[in-house]
Symmetry: C3
Subunit: 363 residues, 3 copies
């Protein structure tokens, strides 16, 4: 099941107003409590008392007519917490534009045809933050291409960028002249020109397509997307209820999942007992060790190739250009933090940002 | 066997004065020589002769009344070597405070109770270098919690920090409301307040506990520790003589193993033929490829989950948030360098520093 | 088969003039076309028309007597493309000095003797860019040492550097006093002095030798090389036609493969159907996820140790100090880009540079 092919009730769940979103998160959290055991918050003293202890410890002498340092610390903590809360309550924040949506092909004489236009757009990474983005069909990530091993595929690229470009199909073992490397396998596609790639889809797996010309800039600005090849023989595929493509990036737009920064990242919503396949793709320049709370990840494939022996983890390190497929058995209800564990990519003293989302397991 | 549960004779070995420490290292080194084969140092010429050759090679003409460049190079080399030697001879340097020590629980009605206080202390990272540290119970890493799968555990946290906080049990598949993420699974624990976590210990393995509030700062300053869960069924556990938890960090305190920088890092001391389990935990923001000299490491678990097929290596790359369990068969006597192989984390022209320790295999 | 032991016809292929080099690359590319399927370049409009559209999109109004922005964009694209083309057409660019060449030992009484001199030289990283290099025998990487498990080996090191030094045989499980760590296993080798290492070669695999004194600087400047140990029992070795050692570095000399930056990197040339073994060695300070186009890599060993179950990938992340052995089945003809996928290590708006080479599969 693809990202855009989710059950309607899950989509409805996400299409909530800011207000109901709060209730929703609260409900998810409260829903877990009955399962969760004991978690008691105990205020162990009045702020003033604690404050006095703190002052003593620090050896400071508060001026008689000043706000006490303890009260000041409390106020500082409250102010920081308010910023943290604001970010989390805003999640999932609405922004304009959604990438990684399935691109339905035209079919002509048995050939699946995908039309792409590379152009510069304004992209809303998080609420109110608009950036210059270089995109295929106006979104980051580009529309998701999903085909089957052995399909005949034609990809028409129109270049409306101010630079030449080319598409490399990262991970696909194509004939050399379809590999998309200017001056090695093809001429660069000049501004205003179009170019056609056509091939029979080779090896199955989680692959990518992205620019291979001036790529540090062009991929960094957004010319990237998922290219999923389903195998002819599906007997070895895991049986899953959802199949989620998650593109990691850290370029000019900051730290993003599928082109958005927290709180505008997309939560993944599953029902208790469902199996979730995540296809990680690192299109950035840094590693991102992806940590899921509450449930482990079973790693089943590397760069689209099934692993001979899957292994389990909770933090999976993904380097630039790598893809990993994992399966999560959604057996633990609640709203679970899901983030890059390089903490500077995920949280500052202003709260969570960047590479943070949630896996919401609904009972 | 836990870190603090070492045979007394090994502890005695380490409790040496700076002077006897030198003899100790020397003895360890010399002890290996009889096993080691041939290693002959041959001075191939007097310094003056060599110096002349060096001058010739460089094409320089030394002034008649100046120190010759060759003699100068020799002096520079000697000065650098002296700094290198000084660091190594100081190892293991005494500092105040030792983290990662087993925390014995109180047991009430079958519940193992651990009391933690988060507070700001001064921490000695290496001799004379005191830093502000945010700690659980005053040490970095925090006291090591070691329990058994299925145990009922209660953790009381008193927050004496100037900020709110919360504990995330990284790797444990807990009920959602015990997961420790403010505003998602619980309210933040304000300065002066206390909070209680309680749960039945789920999945076995090498896990961690650390702050999940303003975590870039709070974990960076030291709110982190090992949380080891021994499995109910120990039949698949490796038989080892020592079980060592090694927390890697690279935050505000510099490059550290278990909260200390070389030469204040702790050597691991084993007897020839012993098996050593190391549980690496990366609480930092960077990768650390851990290189052991002299013996390989057999990787048996990732994030607490046994690998289906262990594999061998000498340099194991550990990313932030990851844990790896390895077993070392201590079959090669001597004092072996053991360090992060990002060389800037381990050596400068002033000598070794940061992420360096030694595995000492005694005959 | 070692790097310097390639079939003569391949060496001849590379020994081409700049002019014939261009034809060669073109031929390799064209050779693939008949296999490749359809790849049609279609100019979809005159530059002027496209330009008008671009202007409209940007909302700019070109001055009547100025060069139009569209024409200017075209000129900018052309200028950038020319720089890209120039780099690729220059590949493989001639430079002085070639590292990683097999060092034939002298044999005395059954001992294989290797003579090394550490000295400072000028090294040409790419055409015209000469850098100060600290080398063994004048090249980066150092001469490749290739011996057999159980061999008796003697290595004589003459230190002509302005600093003390020592050699660590990274990955070899040697007797402690041969491990090459000053003040732990031996005294530093002073400028002008010589030192002899001698040992019976232990564990097989892809290892390294490099300085372990002031190593951030000394290894960064080039004191490094491959140390390959062939196993006594070769029944488990993959049958390959070429065996290529590829040392990655990112020190003071920039991003290099075997001491050279693109376009001066060495292409790997194979015949269709050949099997290629690559031994990656990271002697740098950063990770390098190595991405091969057109064919996957089967990972067979980590740090010289065979993996219990090889796995496939197209992008292999290699951390400092790690080695990986992979096998590539060269079944896809053409010239294939082969590069680090941290794009800043491989391409700028001036074109490809640094960690880029090509695997050329000839029909």
């Amino acid at each position: 099941m693809s990202n855009s092919d989710r059950p309607t009730d899950l989509i409805d769940t996400l299409a909530v107003t800011p207000t109901s979103r709060r209730s929703f998160l609260k409900a998810a959290s409260l829903g877990a409590v009955s399962v969760a055991g004991v978690g008691t918050m105990v205020a162990c003293g009045k702020a003033g008392e604690t404050g006095a202890a703190a002052v003593k410890q620090a050896g400071a002498v508060p001026a008689a007519n000043a706000v006490t340092p303890a009260a000041s610390a409390q106020a500082t903590a409250d102010a920081m917490d308010a910023m943290h809360e604001k970010g989390i309550k805003a999640f999932p924040a609405k922004t304009k534009g959604k990438g990684n949506q399935l691109l339905a092909p035209r079919v002509e004489k048995g050939v699946k045809i995908f039309d792409l236009t590379a152009s510069v757009v304004q992209w809303e990474v998080e609420p109110g933050r608009l950036v210059e983005a270089w995109t295929y069909n106006g979104t980051i990530p580009a529309p998701q291409i999903r085909v089957r091993e052995g399909d005949r595929v034609r990809i028409n690229l129109k270049n409306d960028l101010p630079e030449s470009t080319a598409i490399h199909f990262h991970g696909l073992e194509l004939p050399n002249d379809q590999d998309g490397v200017p001056f090695i396998t093809q001429p660069p596609i000049k501004p205003g020109q179009s170019y056609t790639y056509e091939f029979t889809v080779p090896n199955a797996g989680s692959h990518m397509y992205h620019s291979h010309h001036n790529a540090t800039k062009q991929v960094g600005l957004g010319l990237l997307g998922g290219f999923i090849v389903e195998p002819k023989d599906t007997s070895h595929e895991p049986k899953v209820d959802q199949d989620y493509v998650m593109v990691l990036n850290d370029g000019a737009h900051g730290y993003t999942f599928n082109g958005k920064s927290f709180p505008a990242t997309e939560p993944i919503v599953a029902k208790l007992g469902q199996k979730l396949r995540i296809r990680y793709m690192n299109e950035g320049m840094m590693i991102h060790p992806m940590h899921l709370h509450g449930m482990h990840q079973t790693v089943i494939a590397k760069d689209g190739w099934p692993l001979p022996y899957p292994y389990r983890c909770d933090t999976l390190n993904i380097a630039p250009g790598e893809r990993y497929d994992v399966v999560v058995n959604c057996n633990n209800p609640g709203t679970w933090a899901f983030h890059c564990h390089i903490l500077q990519h995920a949280e500052s003293d202003h709260g969570m940002f960047g590479m943070v989302t949630a896996l919401i397991v609904q009972k």
